[in-house]
Amino acid sequence: MADTMQFDLVSPERKLASVQAREVRLPGVEGDLTAMPGHAPVILSLRPGILTVVSAEGTADYAVTGGFAEVSGDKVTVLAERGLTKAELTAAVHAEMLAEAKKVADAAHPTVADAAAKMLADMEALGTHINL
């Protein structure tokens, strides 16, 4: 079996990455998941978090704010709502995203308040994760 797989990270506005990866760590809504070549096909929703790609060139981190990932045996495609490379995710950008999530959480309808609050918590966790 091949020891790499095609990894694509696309957001609505651009293509962030397209590499041969050895493994991809995905922040799923129900817990993190590491996809390696030959992984069973799965489609999973993502929470805001850090996505890590291990390839021959080394390890690259991306920040994603939700979206979903499609994993099949030889490829992983991530459709991120908004995707940033780690260098782009500065304190200012994070603060702005946090403020947005907070606004949504405050205005959220009771039925989706839990989801919005979780989103906010995930956003905050994302910040602490990269030491902002």
Partner: protein, 290 residues
């Protein structure tokens, strides 16, 4: 017969117009390149989204309790037409063609006894449709302040449309925009976004996925995003079409101005020659009379 001075003034004014149209053409060409690039960049996302949605839709769509965004409300009485046009004119038939298609569709639906509601994106479409179908017009989304089309812009439009759907204001939503074929050809297009339609041919090959959390949850989360993606794609197509249409319209205008300058210059030279000849005749006949 206009005087020499009048002719001179006209030539100068047409020359100035040509300068402006030439500049607009070049600006449109530069913008078109950027618009095409961003449309290109957005394509992989839309394609993957469609592929995943169609496999999901075929897995869940037919079951009981499928989301209303996919299955529809069960009726098709009230239609929402989302008409997306440009914010500005000077682009040939671009805005008019979209408005014409929307108008034809609206009249067809009205003739079939349906209710029509119109929501416009872009100032030009609003002006055109308000004139003829003013009583069906419900809202307008203003993009004149938007410098760069980004995904959040599309999300805002999608949110507006989805809120209205949740409030039960309509059953079927169709977006109208222009597909960019080439610089000289933009095709006005209608596309139904609610209930969502996906090509199902690709579905059978990829129907073996596991879903996490569940397929229902994912579908419910993805449907609004699919609507936003469709709108985003339409906005980008529209933007490219607009700039393409403007570019060719301005190219024509520049050429016409050139022709007009040539014509006026010939006329100017003729009248100058005529005036000189007349003066000569006067001098000569004056000398002969002596």
């Amino acid at each position: 017969m206009p005087s020499l001075k009048d002719l001179k003034n006209r030539i100068v004014s047409v020359k100035n117009t040509r300068k402006i149209t030439k500049a607009m053409q070049m600006v449109a060409a530069a913008k078109l390149r950027r618009a095409q690039e961003s449309a290109e960049a957005a394509r992989p996302y839309a394609e993957r989204m469609n592929a995943v949605m169609s496999s999901l839709a075929s897995a869940v769509g037919s079951t009981e309790g499928a989301p209303r965004l996919l299955a529809g409300t069960g009726s098709d009485k009230v239609h929402l037409l989302v008409v997306m046009t440009g914010e500005r004119g000077l682009c040939g038939g671009f805005n008019a063609n979209i408005a014409k298609l929307a108008k034809a569709k609206a009249n067809e639906l009205l003739a079939a006894g349906k209710t029509v509601k119109i929501l416009t994106v872009g100032k030009k479409g609003r002006d055109a449709l308000r004139r003829d179908l003013g009583q069906y017009y419900i809202d307008h989304i203003d993009l004149s302040e938007v410098k760069k089309l980004s995904y959040p812009v599309a999300q805002k439009i999608a949110q507006n449309i989805l809120d209205r759907f949740d409030a039960g204001e309509y059953d079927v939503a169709t977006i109208f925009f222009s597909t960019f074929e080439s610089v000289i050809s933009q095709v006005p297009t209608a596309k139904q976004v609610i209930p969502a339609q996906f090509e199902t041919e690709a579905a059978s090959a990829s129907a073996v996925y596991d879903y996490e959390p569940g397929d229902q949850e994912i579908l419910t989360a993805l449907l609004p995003r699919a609507v936003a993606t469709a709108i985003f794609a339409a906005l980008l197509e529209n933007n490219a079409s607009f700039n393409g249409a403007q570019m060719s319209a301005m190219d024509n205008a520049t050429r016409n101005a050139g022709d007009m300058i040539d014509r006026l210059t010939i006329e100017f030279n003729r009248s100058r020659q005529a005036a000189i000849t007349k003066e000569l005749i006067e001098i000569i006949s004056g000398a002969e009379a002596l």
